[in-house]
């Protein structure tokens, strides 16, 4: 059990570093979502189910939606049709 | 059944919050403004009653929020110091709103004016809670409310400069909140309490037993750092000039006059109720605060000296004035803290007076804010000119004005301090000279004849002070003069309040 916990914690650090280093903003966001899910598992291991359910609903749910909407507004989502022409040129 | 006045702090906080919630569904900014002013009046009257009740009996009381006393439930605590500061905050906030009213209605789109007043009500609620709270985690929650509301009133003007300033302000503030929260976690881990009386007891026993010395040092450092970032102590002031210099008049006045002070009052409460001032001194925190305060006094003034933009100059002067407060705290003795609290009150009156006057002066030159173009503005709006003169002279330290009394008490405190005496006196002298070097030319500029704003195609116009502006400048100016002339009762209330903390 302890090993699993430590693996999860190492996973958190890896996610945090790669979210902060990733080039593509969408990748950053997806990694951050994984971070939230792992965090929610850690809350369960720390015997805090209230936090787990809140973190899952908020970190992986609402926060991600808000980030995605922001990325859409600022045209950072590659492959959406607005940026197609733009990408081909580069 | 306790006497009714003991319910007042709690009722005031909830009144302000519910007023904010109500205001959010109004459609008219005018009605929102009326509700805010009414709430401020009622809360001000209640605070005056509370001040009278506690100061006349020289007593304080704790008020359990619910039927569970400390250490289990949230608690409020009110004494003469808290009630007096609440009264000052209400007066200043109402005057700043009245003085900046015209600008608010010009700068903010009609559909969103009511939301500005929502922020004002919430700001009032959070300031009151930070004053009255006896629970350190409540302090954290209301610090966050204060941060969000303060950022919102910066960005309310909604132009490019204010949005950028808000972003910088938000990033720095959130950093400060994070540091405060982590120090709170450390504090909880070694004491197991969150309410100030029990925290004080267990920290005292830790000190006596010599336990957990290292975590204590770290957590005091982090807590002070977090609150120092939020209250713009040098060198964490970089966000302040943009935020205070670009927002609408009332926002600048309230941010400089009150929001910064809320955090410092919380810090003083923590110093006195969680630790006590001799323990803080033994951790050497006060020495750091003293040095940073002294640096802020000099650097803030130097920066202000180089600034040609009127509001940014006044904003930089806030950095220097915050330095005075931290200098007083950094002396690490009772007299220094009294001077610091007096400076909180004096600056709460003076700085909004300056901002409101500058706002009115610049409206005579088409809202141009550069000093160069404000030549003769005082002749075109006499009341604002007089207000600026009084405020500026108070900052310089002319006798019979509030700023002079602060310097007097700081100097008196410095003579009693351990090692800081010479430095403090020298810094005070230098800072006064520097203040004079930028306030006096500004005063001369606004009273000179002629005008320069035609050069950029703006026709100078005469502005007659409307009633709201007149009330604002007169009340704030009267406050500055009263604090300078009959300061003894104020100081005695402050000393009594600090002794009860």
């Amino acid at each position: 059990m302890e090993l699993f916990t430590i693996l999860l914690l190492i996973g958190l650090v890896v996610c945090a570093v790669s979210a902060s280093l990733a080039k593509n903003l969408l990748n950053t966001l997806l990694i951050f979502m994984a971070f939230s899910l792992m965090m929610s598992m850690i809350w369960l291991l720390l015997q805090a189910p209230d936090l787990a359910i809140t973190e899952a609903a908020v970190g992986a749910g609402v926060d991600t939606v808000l980030f995605l909407l922001t990325l859409k507004t600022i045209h950072a989502l590659k492959g959406t049709r607005f940026d197609k022409g733009h990408d081909e040129k580069h | 059944m306790r006497p009714f006045y003991e319910n007042l702090p709690f009722l005031c906080i909830f009144l302000a919050m519910l007023a904010g919630i109500t205001t959010s569904i109004l459609h008219s900014g005018k009605w929102a403004m009326r509700i805010s002013i009414t709430v401020l009046t009622v809360v001000g009257a209640a605070s005056a009653w509370l001040l009278y009740a506690t100061a006349s009996q020289n007593t304080y009381f704790v008020y359990a929020m619910g039927k569970f006393p400390s250490p289990w439930g949230n608690e409020l605590r009110a004494g003469p110091l808290e009630a007096g500061l609440a009264l000052v905050f209400c007066i200043v906030m109402a005057c700043s709103l009245l003085g900046g009213l015209q600008d608010i209605f010009e700068d903010i789109l009609p559909g969103k004016q009511n939301l500005y007043f929502v922020m004002m009500d919430m700001l009032l609620a959070s300031l009151l809670s930070m004053l009255y709270t006896n629970d350190i985690f409540t302090g954290y929650v209301f610090i966050e409310i204060n941060t969000i509301a303060a950022c919102a009133i910066v960005m309310a003007k909604d132009n490019n400069q204010t949005l950028v300033a808000t972003m910088r302000y938000l990033v720095m503030s959130l950093l400060g909140s994070g540091l405060f929260l982590i120090s709170l976690a450390l504090l909880y881990s070694i004491t197991g309490h969150l309410l100030m009386p029990q925290l004080g007891e267990s920290i005292h026993s830790l000190f006596v037993g010599g336990l957990y010395n290292e975590p204590l040092t770290v957590l005091v450092g982090l807590m002070v750092l977090g609150l120092a970032i939020k209250s713009a102590l040098f060198p964490f002031h970089s966000w302040l000039p943009d935020a205070h210099g670009s927002s609408t008049t009332a926002s600048s006045a309230i941010l400089s006059g009150l929001v910064l002070k809320g955090y410092i009052v919380l810090l003083i409460k923590i110093f006195y109720r969680v630790f006590n001032i001799s323990e803080v001194r033994s951790l050497k925190v006060t020495n750091v605060l003293f040095v940073l305060g002294a640096l802020a006094m000099i650097m803030g003034s130097v920066k202000a000296l180089q600034e040609g933009h009127s509001k940014r100059m006044v904003a930089y002067s806030s950095v220097a004035q915050i330095g005075y407060i931290y200098l007083g705290l950094g002396l690490g003795i009772e007299a220094g803290v009294v001077a610091a609290v007096f400076q909180i009150i004096a600056h709460a009156f003076t700085k909004p007076l300056l901002f409101v006057s500058v706002g009115a002066l610049s409206s005579t030159a088409g809202h141009e804010k550069k000093w160069y173009y404000l030549r003769g503005a005082g002749r075109r709006c006499k009341l604002a000119g007089i207000g600026f003169t009084v405020g500026g002279l108070s900052m310089v330290g002319i006798p019979l004005l509030a700023g002079f009394v602060t310097k007097l008490y700081l100097a008196q405190g410095a003579t009693l301090a351990a090692w800081q005496t010479i430095t403090a006196l020298a810094v005070l002298a230098v800072s006064s000279v520097l203040n004079a070097m930028y306030y006096i030319p500004a005063i001369v500029q606004i009273w000179s004849s002629g005008s320069t704003c035609q050069e950029i195609g703006i026709e100078p116009k005469v502005r007659r002070a409307d009633p709201a502006l007149a009330v604002s400048i007169l009340v704030l100016g009267a406050g500055v003069i009263l604090l300078g002339v009959c300061y003894r009762p104020v100081v005695s209330v402050i000393s009594a309040g600090l002794a009860l903390l």
Partner: protein, 129 residues
């Protein structure tokens, strides 16, 4: 030093929380990209919550939800519920702040068409002059 390592390996939750705090802190301060700043802020907040929650955990005890209320509750059965409650409050504050800063980011992008805060600050200064 070996003592220190032994203590750290016992307090691994706190050690990882602090490492995460460092990562979040540095991305909040050093990243120029606003979105990454906000993600850094979220990581920093989560790490502080992890730090705080770890003080409530006690080995071998269960979450403070009583299955059978008719039996008198023993303190030795449950972990400390207070840090969980505090963190629950903190998470809500975190979401609010995230929403606010993201809204601000959208507006800044619409005005300056970049997410680089340094560039934005310089462009704003140019405008002012």
């Amino acid at each position: 030093m070996s003592n220190a390592i032994a203590t750290w390996s016992g307090d691994y939750y706190q050690v990882f929380a602090i490492i995460l705090f460092g990562i979040g802190f540095i991305s909040l301060l050093l990243h120029k990209n606003l979105i990454k700043k906000i993600i850094g802020l979220n990581i920093m907040d989560s790490s502080v919550y992890l730090f705080l929650t770890s003080f409530g955990f006690i080995d071998g005890r269960v979450a403070p939800i009583v299955a059978d209320p008719s039996v008198p509750v023993q303190m030795e059965t449950y972990i400390n519920p207070l840090p969980t409650g505090l963190v629950l409050t903190g998470i809500v504050v975190g979401v609010s702040v995230t929403a606010f800063s993201l809204a601000l980011t959208q507006r800044l992008y619409k005005k300056y068409h970049t997410l680089n805060l340094d560039e934005i600050i310089i462009l704003a200064k140019r405008e002012e002059v």
